[in-house]
Protein backbone atom coordinates (compact mmCIF):
# COMPACT_ATOMS: atom_id res chain seq x y z
CA UNK A 1 0.00 0.00 0.00
CA UNK A 2 1.23 3.49 -0.69
CA UNK A 3 0.48 5.04 2.68
CA UNK A 4 -2.65 6.77 1.41
CA UNK A 5 -5.83 5.83 3.29
CA UNK A 6 -7.41 2.71 1.88
CA UNK A 7 -10.78 2.88 0.15
CA UNK A 8 -13.65 0.75 1.39
CA UNK A 9 -12.99 -1.64 -1.43
CA UNK A 10 -9.29 -1.89 -0.70
CA UNK A 11 -9.94 -2.54 2.96
CA UNK A 12 -12.48 -5.14 2.04
CA UNK A 13 -10.30 -6.97 -0.42
CA UNK A 14 -7.17 -6.78 1.69
CA UNK A 15 -8.93 -8.37 4.64
CA UNK A 16 -11.29 -10.68 2.91
CA UNK A 17 -9.16 -11.81 0.07
CA UNK A 18 -5.48 -11.30 0.89
CA UNK A 19 -4.52 -13.31 -2.15
CA UNK A 20 -6.42 -11.21 -4.67
CA UNK A 21 -3.43 -9.16 -5.74
CA UNK A 22 -1.38 -12.30 -6.21
CA UNK A 23 -4.30 -13.86 -8.03
CA UNK A 24 -4.39 -10.84 -10.30
CA UNK A 25 -0.65 -10.94 -10.91
CA UNK A 26 -0.68 -14.65 -11.56
CA UNK A 27 -3.90 -14.60 -13.49
CA UNK A 28 -2.28 -15.09 -16.84
CA UNK A 29 -0.73 -18.37 -15.69
CA UNK A 30 -3.71 -19.38 -13.64
CA UNK A 31 -6.91 -20.96 -14.92
CA UNK A 32 -8.94 -19.68 -11.99
CA UNK A 33 -9.23 -16.05 -13.06
CA UNK A 34 -8.25 -13.87 -15.91
CA UNK A 35 -6.88 -10.34 -15.36
CA UNK A 36 -9.82 -8.72 -17.13
CA UNK A 37 -12.29 -10.55 -14.88
CA UNK A 38 -10.49 -9.43 -11.73
CA UNK A 39 -10.17 -5.83 -12.85
CA UNK A 40 -13.81 -5.71 -13.90
CA UNK A 41 -14.82 -7.14 -10.54
CA UNK A 42 -12.86 -4.47 -8.70
CA UNK A 43 -14.24 -1.66 -10.84
CA UNK A 44 -17.83 -2.77 -10.44
CA UNK A 45 -17.45 -3.52 -6.74
CA UNK A 46 -16.03 -0.07 -6.21
CA UNK A 47 -18.91 1.46 -8.14
CA UNK A 48 -21.51 -0.42 -6.09
CA UNK A 49 -19.86 0.42 -2.78
CA UNK A 50 -19.52 4.10 -3.67
CA UNK A 51 -23.08 4.43 -4.92
CA UNK A 52 -24.66 3.00 -1.79
CA UNK A 53 -22.53 3.77 1.25
CA UNK A 54 -19.94 6.13 2.51
CA UNK A 55 -17.14 4.46 4.43
CA UNK A 56 -19.42 1.82 5.90
CA UNK A 57 -20.61 -1.39 4.34
CA UNK A 58 -23.47 -3.59 5.41
CA UNK A 59 -25.85 -6.18 3.95
CA UNK A 60 -24.25 -6.20 0.54
CA UNK A 61 -21.26 -8.53 0.48
CA UNK A 62 -21.47 -12.22 1.28
CA UNK A 63 -18.98 -15.01 1.28
CA UNK A 64 -20.31 -18.38 0.19
CA UNK A 65 -18.15 -21.07 1.71
CA UNK A 66 -18.28 -24.48 0.05
CA UNK A 67 -15.63 -26.13 2.21
CA UNK A 68 -18.17 -28.33 3.98
CA UNK A 69 -19.44 -29.50 0.60
CA UNK A 70 -15.86 -30.26 -0.44
CA UNK A 71 -15.37 -32.24 2.74
CA UNK A 72 -18.64 -34.11 2.16
CA UNK A 73 -17.71 -35.02 -1.41
CA UNK A 74 -14.17 -36.11 -0.51
CA UNK A 75 -12.21 -37.38 -3.51
CA UNK A 76 -15.16 -36.67 -5.81
CA UNK A 77 -14.53 -32.95 -5.36
CA UNK A 78 -11.05 -33.18 -6.88
CA UNK A 79 -12.23 -35.44 -9.68
CA UNK A 80 -15.08 -33.13 -10.67
CA UNK A 81 -13.60 -29.81 -9.59
CA UNK A 82 -14.05 -28.08 -12.96
CA UNK A 83 -17.62 -29.25 -13.35
CA UNK A 84 -18.41 -28.17 -9.79
CA UNK A 85 -17.21 -24.66 -10.48
CA UNK A 86 -19.06 -24.44 -13.78
CA UNK A 87 -22.26 -25.58 -12.05
CA UNK A 88 -21.76 -23.22 -9.12
CA UNK A 89 -21.02 -20.29 -11.42
CA UNK A 90 -24.18 -20.96 -13.39
CA UNK A 91 -26.38 -21.18 -10.29
CA UNK A 92 -25.05 -17.92 -8.88
CA UNK A 93 -25.23 -16.21 -12.26
CA UNK A 94 -28.83 -17.30 -12.72
CA UNK A 95 -29.91 -15.66 -9.48
CA UNK A 96 -28.16 -12.34 -9.75
CA UNK A 97 -29.47 -9.18 -11.30
CA UNK A 98 -27.48 -7.37 -13.95
CA UNK A 99 -26.03 -5.01 -11.31
CA UNK A 100 -25.05 -7.73 -8.82
CA UNK A 101 -21.68 -9.42 -9.12
CA UNK A 102 -19.73 -12.39 -7.93
CA UNK A 103 -16.29 -13.89 -8.22
CA UNK A 104 -14.68 -17.12 -7.14
CA UNK A 105 -12.36 -16.18 -4.28
CA UNK A 106 -10.50 -19.47 -4.09
CA UNK A 107 -11.18 -23.13 -4.67
CA UNK A 108 -13.96 -23.32 -2.09
CA UNK A 109 -15.43 -19.86 -1.73
CA UNK A 110 -17.22 -17.16 -3.66
CA UNK A 111 -17.74 -13.48 -3.05
CA UNK A 112 -21.23 -12.30 -3.92
CA UNK A 113 -22.23 -8.64 -3.95
CA UNK A 114 -25.85 -7.52 -4.13
CA UNK A 115 -26.37 -4.09 -5.57
CA UNK A 116 -29.59 -3.25 -3.80
CA UNK A 117 -31.38 -5.64 -1.53
CA UNK A 118 -32.92 -4.59 1.74
CA UNK A 119 -31.55 -5.90 5.03
CA UNK A 120 -32.55 -9.55 5.67
CA UNK A 121 -33.46 -10.13 2.03
CA UNK A 122 -29.80 -10.07 1.07
CA UNK A 123 -29.03 -12.49 3.89
CA UNK A 124 -31.86 -14.74 2.82
CA UNK A 125 -30.89 -14.65 -0.83
CA UNK A 126 -27.26 -15.52 -0.03
CA UNK A 127 -28.49 -18.39 2.15
CA UNK A 128 -30.80 -19.64 -0.55
CA UNK A 129 -28.04 -19.42 -3.14
CA UNK A 130 -25.70 -21.47 -1.02
CA UNK A 131 -28.42 -24.00 -0.30
CA UNK A 132 -29.23 -24.35 -3.97
CA UNK A 133 -25.55 -24.91 -4.76
CA UNK A 134 -25.36 -27.56 -2.03
CA UNK A 135 -28.53 -29.15 -3.35
CA UNK A 136 -27.13 -29.29 -6.87
CA UNK A 137 -23.80 -30.72 -5.75
CA UNK A 138 -24.71 -33.18 -3.01
CA UNK A 139 -28.47 -33.70 -3.34
CA UNK A 140 -31.49 -32.56 -1.42
CA UNK A 141 -31.05 -34.80 1.60
CA UNK A 142 -27.71 -33.47 2.78
CA UNK A 143 -27.89 -29.91 1.46
CA UNK A 144 -29.29 -28.36 4.63
CA UNK A 145 -26.25 -29.16 6.78
CA UNK A 146 -23.60 -28.07 4.32
CA UNK A 147 -24.34 -24.43 3.75
CA UNK A 148 -22.12 -21.75 5.18
CA UNK A 149 -22.65 -18.07 4.44
CA UNK A 150 -20.54 -15.30 5.92
CA UNK A 151 -21.84 -11.78 6.18
CA UNK A 152 -19.17 -9.18 5.37
CA UNK A 153 -19.40 -5.66 6.81
CA UNK A 154 -17.18 -2.65 7.40
CA UNK A 155 -17.98 -0.56 10.45
CA UNK A 156 -17.54 3.16 10.95
CA UNK A 157 -13.94 2.66 12.16
CA UNK A 158 -13.12 0.92 8.91
CA UNK A 159 -12.83 -2.49 10.47
CA UNK A 160 -13.86 -5.41 8.29
CA UNK A 161 -16.20 -7.75 10.13
CA UNK A 162 -16.85 -11.26 8.87
CA UNK A 163 -19.58 -13.02 10.76
CA UNK A 164 -21.68 -16.10 10.03
CA UNK A 165 -24.98 -15.04 8.45
CA UNK A 166 -28.04 -16.01 10.48
CA UNK A 167 -29.67 -19.35 9.87
CA UNK A 168 -32.29 -19.39 7.09
CA UNK A 169 -35.18 -20.21 9.42
CA UNK A 170 -34.18 -17.40 11.72
CA UNK A 171 -34.09 -15.02 8.75
CA UNK A 172 -37.50 -16.11 7.60
CA UNK A 173 -38.86 -15.70 11.07
CA UNK A 174 -37.42 -12.17 11.24
CA UNK A 175 -38.85 -11.34 7.84
CA UNK A 176 -42.25 -12.64 8.89
CA UNK A 177 -42.11 -10.49 12.00
CA UNK A 178 -41.16 -7.50 9.92
CA UNK A 179 -43.92 -8.24 7.42
CA UNK A 180 -46.40 -8.58 10.27
CA UNK A 181 -45.39 -5.18 11.54
CA UNK A 182 -45.73 -3.71 8.08
CA UNK A 183 -49.09 -5.13 7.19
CA UNK A 184 -52.28 -6.39 8.73
CA UNK A 185 -52.77 -10.16 8.59
CA UNK A 186 -55.33 -9.99 5.80
CA UNK A 187 -54.77 -9.49 2.10
CA UNK A 188 -56.53 -6.14 1.90
CA UNK A 189 -53.68 -3.91 3.08
CA UNK A 190 -51.43 -5.41 0.44
CA UNK A 191 -53.65 -3.82 -2.18
CA UNK A 192 -52.74 -0.43 -0.79
CA UNK A 193 -49.04 -1.26 -0.81
CA UNK A 194 -49.05 -1.92 -4.51
CA UNK A 195 -48.90 0.77 -7.13
CA UNK A 196 -51.47 -1.15 -9.13
CA UNK A 197 -55.13 -0.37 -8.98
CA UNK A 198 -56.18 -3.80 -7.88
CA UNK A 199 -59.30 -2.53 -6.20
CA UNK A 200 -62.24 -4.69 -7.09
CA UNK A 201 -60.12 -7.71 -7.95
CA UNK A 202 -61.59 -10.81 -6.37
CA UNK A 203 -60.56 -14.43 -6.54
CA UNK A 204 -62.45 -17.51 -7.59
CA UNK A 205 -61.45 -21.16 -7.48
CA UNK A 206 -62.00 -23.43 -10.43
CA UNK A 207 -61.97 -27.19 -9.79
CA UNK A 208 -59.41 -29.10 -11.85
CA UNK A 209 -60.35 -32.63 -12.81
CA UNK A 210 -57.91 -35.51 -13.02
CA UNK A 211 -59.56 -37.27 -15.94
CA UNK A 212 -58.07 -40.71 -15.39
CA UNK A 213 -59.24 -41.04 -11.80
CA UNK A 214 -62.29 -38.75 -12.14
CA UNK A 215 -61.29 -36.85 -9.06
CA UNK A 216 -61.13 -33.13 -8.44
CA UNK A 217 -57.96 -32.73 -6.42
CA UNK A 218 -56.80 -29.23 -7.25
CA UNK A 219 -58.43 -25.80 -7.25
CA UNK A 220 -57.09 -23.11 -9.55
CA UNK A 221 -56.97 -19.66 -8.00
CA UNK A 222 -58.10 -17.11 -10.59
CA UNK A 223 -58.32 -13.31 -10.22
CA UNK A 224 -61.53 -11.80 -11.56
CA UNK A 225 -62.76 -8.25 -11.99
CA UNK A 226 -65.87 -6.57 -13.26
CA UNK A 227 -64.87 -3.60 -15.39
CA UNK A 228 -66.74 -0.29 -15.56
CA UNK A 229 -69.00 -1.74 -18.29
CA UNK A 230 -69.94 -4.63 -16.04
CA UNK A 231 -67.94 -7.04 -18.17
CA UNK A 232 -66.21 -9.86 -16.32
CA UNK A 233 -62.44 -10.06 -16.74
CA UNK A 234 -60.39 -12.96 -15.47
CA UNK A 235 -56.79 -14.06 -15.13
CA UNK A 236 -54.29 -11.50 -16.35
CA UNK A 237 -57.16 -9.86 -18.23
CA UNK A 238 -57.89 -7.95 -15.01
CA UNK A 239 -54.76 -5.90 -15.72
CA UNK A 240 -56.24 -4.43 -18.89
CA UNK A 241 -54.35 -3.89 -22.11
CA UNK A 242 -50.58 -4.22 -22.29
CA UNK A 243 -49.75 -4.46 -18.58
CA UNK A 244 -46.23 -3.69 -17.45
CA UNK A 245 -43.95 -6.39 -16.00
CA UNK A 246 -44.37 -4.75 -12.60
CA UNK A 247 -48.16 -5.06 -12.87
CA UNK A 248 -47.86 -8.75 -13.65
CA UNK A 249 -45.61 -9.10 -10.63
CA UNK A 250 -48.01 -7.27 -8.35
CA UNK A 251 -51.00 -9.33 -9.45
CA UNK A 252 -48.99 -12.53 -8.95
CA UNK A 253 -47.92 -11.26 -5.57
CA UNK A 254 -51.52 -10.63 -4.58
CA UNK A 255 -52.61 -14.02 -5.92
CA UNK A 256 -49.89 -15.66 -3.87
CA UNK A 257 -51.17 -14.03 -0.70
CA UNK A 258 -54.76 -15.00 -1.41
CA UNK A 259 -53.81 -18.57 -2.31
CA UNK A 260 -51.75 -18.86 0.86
CA UNK A 261 -54.71 -17.81 2.96
CA UNK A 262 -56.95 -20.27 1.16
CA UNK A 263 -54.44 -23.03 1.70
CA UNK A 264 -54.35 -22.27 5.40
CA UNK A 265 -58.13 -22.68 5.49
CA UNK A 266 -57.86 -26.02 3.68
CA UNK A 267 -55.27 -27.25 6.14
CA UNK A 268 -57.33 -26.05 9.07
CA UNK A 269 -60.33 -27.96 7.68
CA UNK A 270 -58.18 -31.03 7.08
CA UNK A 271 -58.96 -30.85 3.37
CA UNK A 272 -56.41 -32.65 1.21
CA UNK A 273 -56.73 -30.69 -2.00
CA UNK A 274 -54.04 -28.64 -3.72
CA UNK A 275 -54.11 -25.04 -4.86
CA UNK A 276 -52.86 -24.10 -8.31
CA UNK A 277 -51.93 -20.50 -8.94
CA UNK A 278 -50.68 -18.71 -12.00
CA UNK A 279 -47.32 -17.03 -12.16
CA UNK A 280 -46.50 -14.94 -15.22
CA UNK A 281 -43.25 -15.14 -17.14
CA UNK A 282 -42.71 -11.42 -16.52
CA UNK A 283 -42.67 -12.06 -12.78
CA UNK A 284 -39.97 -14.69 -13.14
CA UNK A 285 -37.96 -13.26 -16.02
CA UNK A 286 -36.33 -10.47 -14.09
CA UNK A 287 -33.98 -11.76 -11.40
CA UNK A 288 -34.90 -9.16 -8.81
CA UNK A 289 -38.63 -9.65 -9.25
CA UNK A 290 -38.12 -13.40 -9.23
CA UNK A 291 -36.10 -13.32 -6.03
CA UNK A 292 -38.68 -11.10 -4.42
CA UNK A 293 -41.46 -13.45 -5.48
CA UNK A 294 -39.54 -16.48 -4.20
CA UNK A 295 -38.78 -14.71 -0.92
CA UNK A 296 -42.48 -13.99 -0.59
CA UNK A 297 -43.28 -17.65 -1.11
CA UNK A 298 -40.82 -18.53 1.65
CA UNK A 299 -42.41 -15.93 3.85
CA UNK A 300 -46.03 -16.73 3.46
CA UNK A 301 -46.22 -20.36 2.41
CA UNK A 302 -43.69 -21.64 4.90
CA UNK A 303 -43.97 -25.43 5.04
CA UNK A 304 -47.12 -25.69 2.94
CA UNK A 305 -45.47 -25.53 -0.44
CA UNK A 306 -46.09 -29.23 -1.11
CA UNK A 307 -49.75 -28.25 -1.55
CA UNK A 308 -48.99 -25.66 -4.22
CA UNK A 309 -48.96 -26.10 -7.98
CA UNK A 310 -47.50 -23.25 -10.02
CA UNK A 311 -48.94 -22.64 -13.42
CA UNK A 312 -46.47 -20.70 -15.54
CA UNK A 313 -48.21 -18.40 -17.99
CA UNK A 314 -46.96 -16.16 -20.80
CA UNK A 315 -43.80 -18.06 -21.69
CA UNK A 316 -42.54 -16.57 -24.95
CA UNK A 317 -42.44 -18.73 -28.02
CA UNK A 318 -39.07 -20.30 -28.73
CA UNK A 319 -37.89 -19.69 -25.19
CA UNK A 320 -34.51 -21.43 -24.85
CA UNK A 321 -34.48 -24.68 -22.94
CA UNK A 322 -31.91 -23.34 -20.49
CA UNK A 323 -34.16 -20.39 -19.69
CA UNK A 324 -37.19 -22.58 -18.90
CA UNK A 325 -34.98 -24.79 -16.80
CA UNK A 326 -33.78 -21.77 -14.87
CA UNK A 327 -37.37 -20.71 -14.13
CA UNK A 328 -38.65 -24.15 -13.21
CA UNK A 329 -35.61 -24.74 -10.99
CA UNK A 330 -36.39 -21.56 -9.13
CA UNK A 331 -40.00 -22.61 -8.48
CA UNK A 332 -39.48 -26.31 -7.90
CA UNK A 333 -38.42 -26.16 -4.29
CA UNK A 334 -41.50 -24.13 -3.43
CA UNK A 335 -44.08 -26.33 -5.06
CA UNK A 336 -45.46 -29.79 -5.48
CA UNK A 337 -45.53 -29.43 -9.25
CA UNK A 338 -45.06 -26.90 -12.01
CA UNK A 339 -47.26 -26.82 -15.05
CA UNK A 340 -47.19 -24.34 -17.91
CA UNK A 341 -50.05 -23.03 -19.96
CA UNK A 342 -49.57 -22.16 -23.62
CA UNK A 343 -51.55 -21.30 -26.66
CA UNK A 344 -52.20 -24.44 -28.70
CA UNK A 345 -49.50 -23.76 -31.28
CA UNK A 346 -46.71 -23.73 -28.74
CA UNK A 347 -44.70 -26.79 -29.52
CA UNK A 348 -41.30 -26.84 -27.87
CA UNK A 349 -42.22 -30.01 -26.04
CA UNK A 350 -38.73 -31.57 -25.73
CA UNK A 351 -37.59 -28.42 -23.89
CA UNK A 352 -40.61 -28.53 -21.58
CA UNK A 353 -39.86 -32.13 -20.75
CA UNK A 354 -36.21 -31.39 -20.01
CA UNK A 355 -37.26 -28.48 -17.80
CA UNK A 356 -39.19 -30.94 -15.66
CA UNK A 357 -42.66 -29.53 -16.16
CA UNK A 358 -45.27 -31.83 -14.67
CA UNK A 359 -47.78 -30.99 -17.38
CA UNK A 360 -48.24 -28.67 -20.31
CA UNK A 361 -51.55 -26.94 -20.76
CA UNK A 362 -53.48 -25.33 -23.55
CA UNK A 363 -55.55 -22.25 -22.85
CA UNK A 364 -58.85 -23.14 -24.44
CA UNK A 365 -60.62 -20.25 -22.73
CA UNK A 366 -58.53 -17.60 -24.46
CA UNK A 367 -58.72 -19.39 -27.78
CA UNK A 368 -62.49 -19.37 -27.67
CA UNK A 369 -62.87 -15.87 -26.29
CA UNK A 370 -60.19 -13.53 -27.43
CA UNK A 371 -61.23 -10.15 -28.61
CA UNK A 372 -57.76 -9.14 -29.76
CA UNK A 373 -57.12 -12.21 -31.90
CA UNK A 374 -59.13 -14.36 -34.26
CA UNK A 375 -61.27 -16.76 -32.28
CA UNK A 376 -60.92 -20.37 -33.26
CA UNK A 377 -64.06 -22.23 -34.16
CA UNK A 378 -64.69 -25.38 -32.19
CA UNK A 379 -63.97 -27.68 -35.09
CA UNK A 380 -60.47 -26.27 -35.55
CA UNK A 381 -59.99 -26.19 -31.81
CA UNK A 382 -60.84 -29.87 -31.40
CA UNK A 383 -58.25 -30.75 -34.06
CA UNK A 384 -55.68 -28.54 -32.34
CA UNK A 385 -56.38 -30.09 -28.94
CA UNK A 386 -55.85 -33.56 -30.39
CA UNK A 387 -52.55 -32.49 -31.97
CA UNK A 388 -51.42 -30.83 -28.74
CA UNK A 389 -52.02 -33.99 -26.70
CA UNK A 390 -50.36 -36.16 -29.31
CA UNK A 391 -47.21 -34.00 -29.38
CA UNK A 392 -47.06 -33.73 -25.60
CA UNK A 393 -47.50 -37.47 -25.11
CA UNK A 394 -44.73 -38.18 -27.58
CA UNK A 395 -42.53 -36.26 -25.17
CA UNK A 396 -43.90 -38.06 -22.10
CA UNK A 397 -45.60 -34.91 -20.83
CA UNK A 398 -48.94 -34.81 -19.07
CA UNK A 399 -51.51 -32.47 -20.55
CA UNK A 400 -53.92 -29.92 -19.22
CA UNK A 401 -56.78 -28.02 -20.86
CA UNK A 402 -57.73 -24.78 -19.16
CA UNK A 403 -61.03 -22.98 -19.54
CA UNK A 404 -63.24 -25.58 -21.21
CA UNK A 405 -66.40 -23.60 -21.75
CA UNK A 406 -68.67 -25.91 -23.74
CA UNK A 407 -69.81 -29.49 -23.36
CA UNK A 408 -68.70 -30.30 -26.90
CA UNK A 409 -65.16 -29.19 -26.02
CA UNK A 410 -65.33 -31.11 -22.75
CA UNK A 411 -66.22 -34.36 -24.52
CA UNK A 412 -63.56 -33.73 -27.15
CA UNK A 413 -60.90 -32.92 -24.54
CA UNK A 414 -61.57 -36.07 -22.52
CA UNK A 415 -61.53 -38.22 -25.65
CA UNK A 416 -58.37 -36.47 -26.87
CA UNK A 417 -56.68 -37.71 -23.71
CA UNK A 418 -56.05 -34.60 -21.61
CA UNK A 419 -54.90 -35.58 -18.13
CA UNK A 420 -56.29 -32.51 -16.38
CA UNK A 421 -59.23 -30.27 -17.24
CA UNK A 422 -60.89 -27.19 -15.88
CA UNK A 423 -63.57 -24.84 -17.11
CA UNK A 424 -67.15 -24.00 -16.45
CA UNK A 425 -68.48 -26.73 -18.72
CA UNK A 426 -67.03 -29.07 -16.12
CA UNK A 427 -68.02 -27.41 -12.92
CA UNK A 428 -69.01 -24.02 -11.62
CA UNK A 429 -66.49 -21.88 -9.81
CA UNK A 430 -66.51 -21.28 -6.09
CA UNK A 431 -65.34 -18.48 -3.84
CA UNK A 432 -63.10 -20.92 -2.02
CA UNK A 433 -61.27 -24.18 -2.56
CA UNK A 434 -62.95 -27.38 -1.39
CA UNK A 435 -61.77 -30.82 -0.39
CA UNK A 436 -60.84 -33.57 -2.84
CA UNK A 437 -64.00 -34.98 -4.38
CA UNK A 438 -65.15 -37.49 -6.92
CA UNK A 439 -66.54 -36.40 -10.26
CA UNK A 440 -69.27 -38.06 -12.29
CA UNK A 441 -68.92 -37.86 -16.05
CA UNK A 442 -72.71 -37.54 -16.23
CA UNK A 443 -72.75 -34.44 -14.02
CA UNK A 444 -72.21 -31.79 -16.73
CA UNK A 445 -74.88 -33.43 -18.88
CA UNK A 446 -77.39 -33.64 -16.04
CA UNK A 447 -76.70 -30.00 -15.33
CA UNK A 448 -77.23 -29.22 -19.01
CA UNK A 449 -80.49 -31.20 -18.97
CA UNK A 450 -81.72 -29.31 -15.90
CA UNK A 451 -80.85 -25.97 -17.50
CA UNK A 452 -82.56 -27.04 -20.73
CA UNK A 453 -85.75 -27.98 -18.88
CA UNK A 454 -85.71 -24.68 -17.02
CA UNK A 455 -85.81 -22.73 -20.27
CA UNK A 456 -88.79 -24.68 -21.56
Amino acid sequence: MSGQPQTVMERLLTTLWPGHKTAKQNAAQNDTHNPKELTEFEVRLNSILKSHRGEELKDQVYLLDLSKIKEHLGAKWDQACDKIHIKTDSIIQAHLSARDLFIRRDEVSYLVVFDALPHLQGHLKANMLNEEIARALVGVKDAGNLTCVMDVAIDAKGEVLITPAPDKNQLISELVDKADQDRAPTVAPLKHETSLTLDGVEFIYRPMLVTRTRVVSTYVCIPVLKDHLGQSLSGYGVLGNAPSPQEFFELDHLTLHVAAEELEKLIKNRARSLIALPVHFETLANVQRRMKYLSNIELIMQTNTDRIVFEMVGLPENIPQQRILELTSALRRYSRAIIARFSHDHGNFPAYRTAGLHAVGVDVFTLTKNESAPTKNERALIKDMETFVLNAKENQLRTYAHGIRSISLLTAAICAGFDYLDGYALSSVATGALDVQGFSLAAPYLEYQRAYLKTK
Binding site: L390, S408, I414, C415, K456
Partner: protein, 122 residues
Protein backbone atom coordinates in the same frame (compact mmCIF):
# COMPACT_ATOMS: atom_id res chain seq x y z
CA UNK B 1 -89.97 -44.62 -46.95
CA UNK B 2 -88.20 -44.55 -43.59
CA UNK B 3 -86.31 -41.31 -43.11
CA UNK B 4 -82.98 -41.28 -41.28
CA UNK B 5 -80.83 -38.29 -40.29
CA UNK B 6 -77.08 -38.82 -39.91
CA UNK B 7 -75.30 -36.29 -37.65
CA UNK B 8 -71.52 -36.42 -37.84
CA UNK B 9 -68.87 -33.72 -38.24
CA UNK B 10 -66.74 -35.96 -40.45
CA UNK B 11 -67.92 -35.65 -44.02
CA UNK B 12 -66.46 -39.00 -45.02
CA UNK B 13 -68.28 -40.75 -42.17
CA UNK B 14 -71.58 -39.14 -43.21
CA UNK B 15 -71.00 -40.11 -46.83
CA UNK B 16 -70.22 -43.74 -45.97
CA UNK B 17 -73.21 -44.18 -43.66
CA UNK B 18 -75.47 -42.49 -46.20
CA UNK B 19 -74.27 -44.85 -48.95
CA UNK B 20 -74.96 -47.92 -46.82
CA UNK B 21 -78.41 -46.73 -45.77
CA UNK B 22 -79.51 -45.55 -49.20
CA UNK B 23 -78.44 -48.86 -50.69
CA UNK B 24 -80.77 -50.46 -48.14
CA UNK B 25 -83.62 -48.21 -49.37
CA UNK B 26 -83.69 -45.67 -46.57
CA UNK B 27 -84.14 -41.98 -47.23
CA UNK B 28 -81.15 -40.18 -45.70
CA UNK B 29 -80.30 -36.61 -44.81
CA UNK B 30 -77.13 -35.26 -43.17
CA UNK B 31 -76.09 -32.68 -40.56
CA UNK B 32 -72.56 -31.66 -39.58
CA UNK B 33 -73.30 -31.09 -35.90
CA UNK B 34 -76.05 -31.45 -33.32
CA UNK B 35 -77.32 -27.91 -33.72
CA UNK B 36 -77.94 -28.33 -37.44
CA UNK B 37 -79.39 -31.79 -36.79
CA UNK B 38 -81.90 -30.52 -34.25
CA UNK B 39 -83.00 -27.77 -36.65
CA UNK B 40 -83.55 -30.35 -39.39
CA UNK B 41 -85.50 -32.61 -37.04
CA UNK B 42 -87.71 -29.70 -36.04
CA UNK B 43 -88.31 -28.75 -39.67
CA UNK B 44 -89.09 -32.23 -41.01
CA UNK B 45 -89.10 -34.97 -38.35
CA UNK B 46 -87.18 -38.19 -39.04
CA UNK B 47 -87.94 -41.76 -38.02
CA UNK B 48 -84.42 -42.37 -36.76
CA UNK B 49 -81.40 -40.27 -35.96
CA UNK B 50 -77.85 -41.60 -35.98
CA UNK B 51 -75.53 -39.26 -34.14
CA UNK B 52 -71.80 -39.14 -33.57
CA UNK B 53 -70.58 -38.09 -30.10
CA UNK B 54 -67.44 -35.97 -30.53
CA UNK B 55 -68.58 -32.96 -32.54
CA UNK B 56 -68.07 -29.19 -32.43
CA UNK B 57 -70.83 -26.72 -31.50
CA UNK B 58 -73.19 -29.35 -30.08
CA UNK B 59 -71.88 -32.82 -29.40
CA UNK B 60 -73.77 -36.10 -29.35
CA UNK B 61 -74.90 -36.47 -25.75
CA UNK B 62 -76.18 -32.88 -25.65
CA UNK B 63 -77.95 -33.48 -28.94
CA UNK B 64 -79.64 -36.59 -27.57
CA UNK B 65 -80.75 -34.70 -24.45
CA UNK B 66 -82.28 -31.92 -26.57
CA UNK B 67 -83.93 -34.28 -29.01
CA UNK B 68 -85.45 -36.50 -26.31
CA UNK B 69 -86.92 -33.48 -24.55
CA UNK B 70 -88.60 -32.24 -27.75
CA UNK B 71 -89.31 -35.64 -29.32
CA UNK B 72 -89.58 -38.23 -26.50
CA UNK B 73 -90.45 -41.08 -28.89
CA UNK B 74 -87.66 -40.37 -31.34
CA UNK B 75 -85.34 -43.34 -31.98
CA UNK B 76 -81.66 -42.56 -31.74
CA UNK B 77 -78.48 -44.54 -32.36
CA UNK B 78 -75.25 -43.09 -30.95
CA UNK B 79 -71.95 -43.84 -32.71
CA UNK B 80 -68.40 -42.96 -31.69
CA UNK B 81 -64.80 -44.00 -32.03
CA UNK B 82 -63.95 -42.40 -28.70
CA UNK B 83 -61.27 -40.18 -30.16
CA UNK B 84 -57.55 -40.76 -29.79
CA UNK B 85 -58.07 -42.55 -26.47
CA UNK B 86 -60.85 -44.81 -27.77
CA UNK B 87 -62.92 -43.59 -24.82
CA UNK B 88 -66.33 -45.23 -25.10
CA UNK B 89 -67.68 -43.85 -21.81
CA UNK B 90 -69.69 -41.25 -23.69
CA UNK B 91 -71.41 -43.91 -25.75
CA UNK B 92 -72.55 -45.58 -22.53
CA UNK B 93 -73.62 -42.19 -21.22
CA UNK B 94 -75.68 -41.56 -24.36
CA UNK B 95 -77.73 -44.68 -23.55
CA UNK B 96 -78.51 -43.17 -20.16
CA UNK B 97 -79.86 -40.06 -21.86
CA UNK B 98 -82.02 -41.90 -24.37
CA UNK B 99 -80.06 -43.54 -27.19
CA UNK B 100 -81.76 -46.78 -28.11
CA UNK B 101 -78.55 -48.37 -29.31
CA UNK B 102 -74.84 -47.60 -29.41
CA UNK B 103 -72.23 -48.54 -31.97
CA UNK B 104 -68.50 -48.19 -31.55
CA UNK B 105 -66.61 -47.03 -34.65
CA UNK B 106 -65.38 -48.63 -36.79
CA UNK B 107 -68.39 -50.80 -37.54
CA UNK B 108 -69.29 -52.94 -40.54
CA UNK B 109 -72.14 -52.37 -42.96
CA UNK B 110 -73.88 -55.39 -41.45
CA UNK B 111 -73.56 -54.09 -37.90
CA UNK B 112 -74.98 -50.71 -38.91
CA UNK B 113 -77.96 -52.16 -40.77
CA UNK B 114 -78.65 -54.62 -37.97
CA UNK B 115 -78.67 -51.80 -35.42
CA UNK B 116 -80.92 -49.64 -37.61
CA UNK B 117 -83.40 -52.46 -38.21
CA UNK B 118 -83.40 -53.44 -34.52
CA UNK B 119 -84.16 -49.91 -33.40
CA UNK B 120 -86.82 -49.32 -36.03
CA UNK B 121 -88.51 -52.55 -34.97
CA UNK B 122 -88.94 -51.40 -31.39
Amino acid sequence: MTRILVIDDEELARFTIREILETADFEVDEAENGRVGIDKQKATPFDLIITDIIMPEKEGVETIIDLKQEFPDLKIIAISGGGRTRNLDFLKLSERFGAAKILAKPFTEGQLLEAVNDVLAI
